[in-house]
């Protein structure tokens, strides 16, 4: 049972300090990333591919000499080119070695650092700092929960903190899984800092117990999935924005211009992954999260049925969740529809995320509904 006075002020205070410390560390990480982008060099592509094609040749040669099996799969490209995928099974050991190739059009940029070792070091420092920041951040979220012995997402401040943590954690998990996402570092850190900044300056609420409407196991389920979806949609949003930028950049280069959209330096765009890679990343995240977002809404409806008597009442928050859901559904359909792919679908994804943001900030602050608890 939640008692009226069940707050541990020391833990609550510690939580605040941890969140502030995390913000400081994230800020330093952000500067390190800016350094990485600024001083990273551009002419990286050629160097890298040379280095790695060397590796590739060695692997293939090694496989060949051991008398194993080797299969080359040819994949037809968009513009008449082809790429190949070679799979080699070493005789005796039963191990398979996969090597792969890419056509010219598919070149992903080398990342923020390019070939500059100094910039790469800065990038590595930034990643370490992001990890440190997220540990402090996680400590802040956990102590906040412990201070009141409940899930730490009962109001907008707590939700924002948890949501920013989900973003940072997702980035780190992807890095740990050896995915090529280091280039996402700067936008992620900025998004995390922005979210935490808004949370601490505008949404701060003292650690406290919850109103009876929130005493439910659904708080853990409905709100935590909403947090996760929010973090993932944010990441997809960043990827979509970068896709649009990179796509414009490619078109401008094809048209003989030398800078990216809005006069941005070409070297930044060159170091980013290919437009199709960014587009695919954004699609994958959105497609992955869409069923979970559906679940979040349904879990909310089940909770609403228990708390308010109707599972759907067109409460503003419900309405905006629905609007967001429909917008993402639009995006997923558009992706599979001729004539809507690419930029048009990307604009839909941006609109959907704008709806999501409004659902979180706008509805809580400007619209009164049944989701208004404990101030904001």
């Amino acid at each position: 049972m939640h008692l009226a006075s069940g707050v541990d002020p020391h833990l609550a205070d510690l939580s605040n300090k941890l969140i502030y410390s995390a913000m400081v560390v994230y800020t330093i990480a952000m500067f390190a990333q800016i350094f990485e982008w600024t001083f990273g060099s551009k002419g990286a592509v050629a160097v890298r591919s040379k280095e790695q094609s060397g590796n590739l040749a060695e692997t293939v040669a090694a496989a060949g000499t051991k008398g194993g099996k080797k299969v080359t799969v040819t994949v037809a490209g968009a513009n008449g080119g082809t790429t190949t995928l070679t799979r080699t099974a070493l005789a005796g050991e039963g191990a398979t070695v996969v090597t792969s190739g890419r056509g010219e059009e598919e070149v992903d940029g080398p990342g923020a650092a390019g070939t500059s070792e100094k910039a790469d070091l800065a990038g590595r420092i930034a990643v370490s700092l992001t990890v440190l920041g997220s540990l402090l951040h996680a400590g802040g979220v956990i102590t906040r929960g412990l201070s009141v012995s409940r899930w730490p997402w009962g109001n907008m401040y707590e939700f924002s903190c948890a949501f920013a943590l989900a973003m940072a954690a997702a980035y780190i998990v992807l890095l740990a899984a050896r995915k090529n996402v280091r280039w996402l570092g700067l936008p992620v850190t900025i998004a995390v800092l922005l979210t935490l900044g808004i949370a601490t300056s505008m949404l701060y609420t003292d650690s406290d117990q919850l109103v009876p409407a929130l005493h439910s196991p659904w708080l853990a389920i409905h709100v935590s999935t909403a947090i996760f979806c929010g973090g993932a949609f944010y990441a997809a949003f960043i990827a979509t924005l970068l896709y649009l930028g990179k796509d414009s950049f490619d078109k401008r280069i094809a048209a003989g211009l030398t800078t990216g959209p809005l006069g941005t330096p070409a070297s930044v765009w060159r170091r980013l992954p290919a437009a199709s890679t960014l587009d695919k990343l954004s699609y994958r995240i959105n497609a992955l999260v869409f069923p979970l977002w559906t679940f979040t809404i349904i879990a909310g409806a089940i909770w609403a049925e228990a708390a308010w008597g109707k599972y759907w009442e067109w409460d503003p928050k419900e309405t905006w969740s629905f609007i967001t859901w429909v917008a993402y559904a639009c995006y997923l359909h558009a992706r599979a529809t001729a004539g809507w792919k690419g930029r048009k679908a990307a604009y839909l994804a941006l609109a959907a995320f704008a709806f999501w943001l409004f659902n979180f900030y706008g509805v809580n602050i400007f619209v009164t509904g049944k989701h208004s608890y404990a101030g904001i």
């Binding site: 008692l3 591919s49 790695q52 094609s53 099996k69 080797k70 080359t72 799969v73 040819t74 994949v75 037809a76 490209g77 968009a78 513009n79 008449g80 082809t82 190949t84 995928l85 070679t86 996969v98 090597t99 792969s100 056509g103 059009e105 070149v107 992903d108 995915k179 090529n180 609420t205 003292d206 406290d208 109103v211 009876p212 005493h215 290919a274 199709s276 890679t277 695919k280 497609a287 069923p291 559906t294 349904i298 409806a301 909770w303 708390a307 008597g309 109707k310 009442e313 067109w314 629905f322 429909v326 639009c330 992706r335 599979a336 529809t337 001729a338 809507w340 709806f355 619209v367 404990a374």
Partner: protein, 604 residues
């Protein structure tokens, strides 16, 4: 996607029709065909069921839902009051808004039109698709295209093994990998990932179940309201409910019979800190009996997230407040009124207002008279009302006070018209005065007030708590919930399962030896088809080892491939890069090659 501009829809060569259309999505048509009204009707139907129109409707639906979240709606909690207040504030636009049904967005003509059209479009698309899919399931996977090396993903080599053996091995391996495989005509055709289309159809069909659940709920549900002071009980009939909203199939005669009594109500509030006064716990301890038999009462509690289910109804705790207990004596000292009267909270601190109507006061100075009191109940009264008026400082009963004004005259209760029990009809009432000032008193529990002009006394005996409940009968929840669960399962299937086809053909070459060709076709977002094909090929080489002298694919120039290798830029993560590249490449159609199917235009 960078290839948007080069995209063209290329009709496949008749031979390769089999390879076409992994998805059974409708083909978009360009303009009206045929003649006259029928042609137009057919064209309009085609348009309505086309993906583009469905997309537009879907986006319109999300836009149309917006105004309802920003303008007060009749159907929301206390909607009527909020709408009236809004109308009073926005006098000029209110009639226009009313005309546009902006206070009733979700049942408005235009909102309904959008979702009905959307569902018609959906039905027009999904029903034929379901039949088509049933046909696909009953048939064998489409036969191998003639030239496998012209498919978007392919591999080939020469072997000394016998062609039939290789085909049989491929058939066996594909089956082992969970493919539906068919060996005929010297080639193996295989397909996997049917769950994608199953999921897709399931998702869209379950939307109809959801809609059905909604519709049934709106036709056959009813909600009643009941306010009870501690110690009171009621039978769930139309006469004893405070209010009731029925529907077509659940009217006042259909109310689930039960008896419910509120024993006690407890509330806990935050007593310190910045959220002081915030509610922390509400519990209604009740007794109830199913049916009309009130003799076998069962005890239970109702809390905010824990409604009580009795019969086919659920009882929800929705409000609470205080009911001061007042005793009124007339001039002769006879008790003319005694009881608890619920006062309605006006703010978060339970500043409550209410009235006490003494209709059986009797006579005063030979005239039939009634008394009325209006006032405030303050659970935590301030020391002084100066500057603030009578307001409560805290929602719990720390310093309870009753503030009363007294009126005498005719309450109008004898006219037979129903009256608001929370308001006095002031038409024939006059306020009692004392020393030329309106008579007014602050009472603490146990205190009494000698009314001016010898009207008798009012005693504030104490107070009870009251709780209000919604009694809700809502069928169709199970339908909607099953629809929702199936929708999620369907989504998972349609977004995470990849549907793909693989063909293997081994042909004996005229000069001896066997040519083995493999080809794969994945859907647009399919990532792993190239890798899967490679794995299959490696496995197949157990039965069909590549000829020593023929390390190279027999088809297009090996040199070209080698060359590409050397220029390649593999990502650090080989597996991912392979998946990524295969994905992008398979996704694009090659307009120069008729064997490559046109863009998979699907409704997933």
């Amino acid at each position: 996607m960078s290839n948007t501009t080069t995209e063209t829809e290329q009709p496949p060569a008749p031979d390769d029709l089999a390879a076409e259309r992994l998805s059974s999505a409708p083909v978009e048509s360009d303009g009206p065909t045929g003649i006259g009204a029928f042609g137009w009707a057919r064209w309009m139907w085609r348009q309505l069921t086309s993906m583009r129109v469905a997309l537009i409707l879907l986006f319109l639906l999300s836009l149309a839902a917006i105004p309802g979240s920003l303008i007060p709606q009749y159907q929301n909690g206390q909607g009527q009051l909020k709408v009236e207040a809004w109308k009073a504030q926005h006098g000029t636009v209110a009639p226009i808004y009313e005309k546009l049904q902006l206070f009733d967005v979700y049942s408005s003509v235009w909102f309904s039109a959008i979702y009905i059209l959307l569902f018609v479009s959906l039905a027009g698309c999904i029903v034929p698709r379901t039949w088509q899919f049933v046909g696909v399931l009953r048939a064998q996977p489409p036969a191998a295209p003639r030239n496998l090396t012209r498919m978007p993903v392919h591999a080939a080599w020469r072997t000394e093994a016998d062609a039939d053996t290789v085909n049989a091995a491929a058939h066996r391996l594909l089956r082992k990998r969970g493919f539906r495989a068919d060996l005929s005509g010297g080639a193996v055709a295989a397909e996997k990932g049917y769950l994608r289309e199953v999921g897709n159809l399931l998702f869209h069909l379950s939307l109809f179940a959801l809609l059905g659940g909604f519709a049934w709920a709106s036709l056959a549900s009813g909600t009643g309201g009941k306010l009870m002071v501690e110690g009171e009980g009621y039978s769930n009939t139309i006469t004893q409910l405070d209010d009731f909203n029925g529907t077509r199939f659940y009217g006042s005669d259909d109310l689930d019979p039960f008896y419910l009594k509120l024993d006690t109500f407890t509330a806990k509030f935050q007593a310190s800190g910045s959220q002081i006064g915030a509610a922390r716990q509400f519990t209604a301890n009740v007794e109830y009996a199913t049916g009309s038999d009130a003799s076998k009462l069962k005890k239970s509690t109702i809390e905010v997230n824990h409604p009580l289910e009795i019969g086919g109804s659920k009882v929800y705790l929705i409000g609470h407040g205080f009911a001061p207990v007042v005793t009124v004596r007339n001039a002769k000292g006879e008790v003319v009124y005694s009881g608890a009267t619920p006062f309605l909270p006006q703010d978060a601190n339970q500043t409550s207002t209410g009235v006490v109507k003494v209709s059986d006061y009797g006579e005063k100075d030979g005239q039939r008279t009634q008394l009325g009191f209006s006032g405030f109940f303050l659970p935590t009264a301030p020391v002084s009302f100066e500057g603030t008026g009578p307001i409560s400082l805290f929602p719990d009963d720390a310093a309870p006070e009753l503030v009363l004004n007294a009126y005498a005259g005719d309450l109008g209760t004898d006219s037979g018209l129903p009256q608001n029990i929370y308001q006095l009809n002031m038409r024939k009432m006059t306020q009692l005065t004392q020393d030329g000032q309106p008579a007014k008193i602050r009472l603490r529990p146990g205190q009494a007030w000698d009314l001016p002009d010898g009207y008798g006394t009012v005693t504030f005996e104490g107070y009870k708590r009251w709780a209000s409940f919604d009694v809700s009968h809502r069928p169709g929840n199970a339908i909607a919930l099953s629809g929702a669960v199936l929708a999620i399962l369907g989504l998972i299937g349609s977004l995470f399962v990849q549907r793909r086809r693989i063909w293997v053909r081994a042909v004996a070459l005229p000069g001896g030896g066997t040519q083995v060709e493999l080809a794969g076709l994945g859907r647009s977002e399919s990532a792993k088809i190239a890798e899967e094909l490679a794995e299959l090929a490696v496995d197949l080489q157990d039965d069909a080892p590549a000829s020593e002298e023929d390390d190279a694919p027999a088809s297009e120039g090996e040199g070209e491939h080698k060359h590409e290798h050397e220029d390649d830029t593999p990502a650090p993560d080989g597996e991912e890069a392979a998946a990524g590249s295969a994905d992008t490449e398979a996704e694009a159609s090659d307009p120069a090659d008729p064997a490559v199917p046109a863009d998979q235009n699907s409704k997933e």
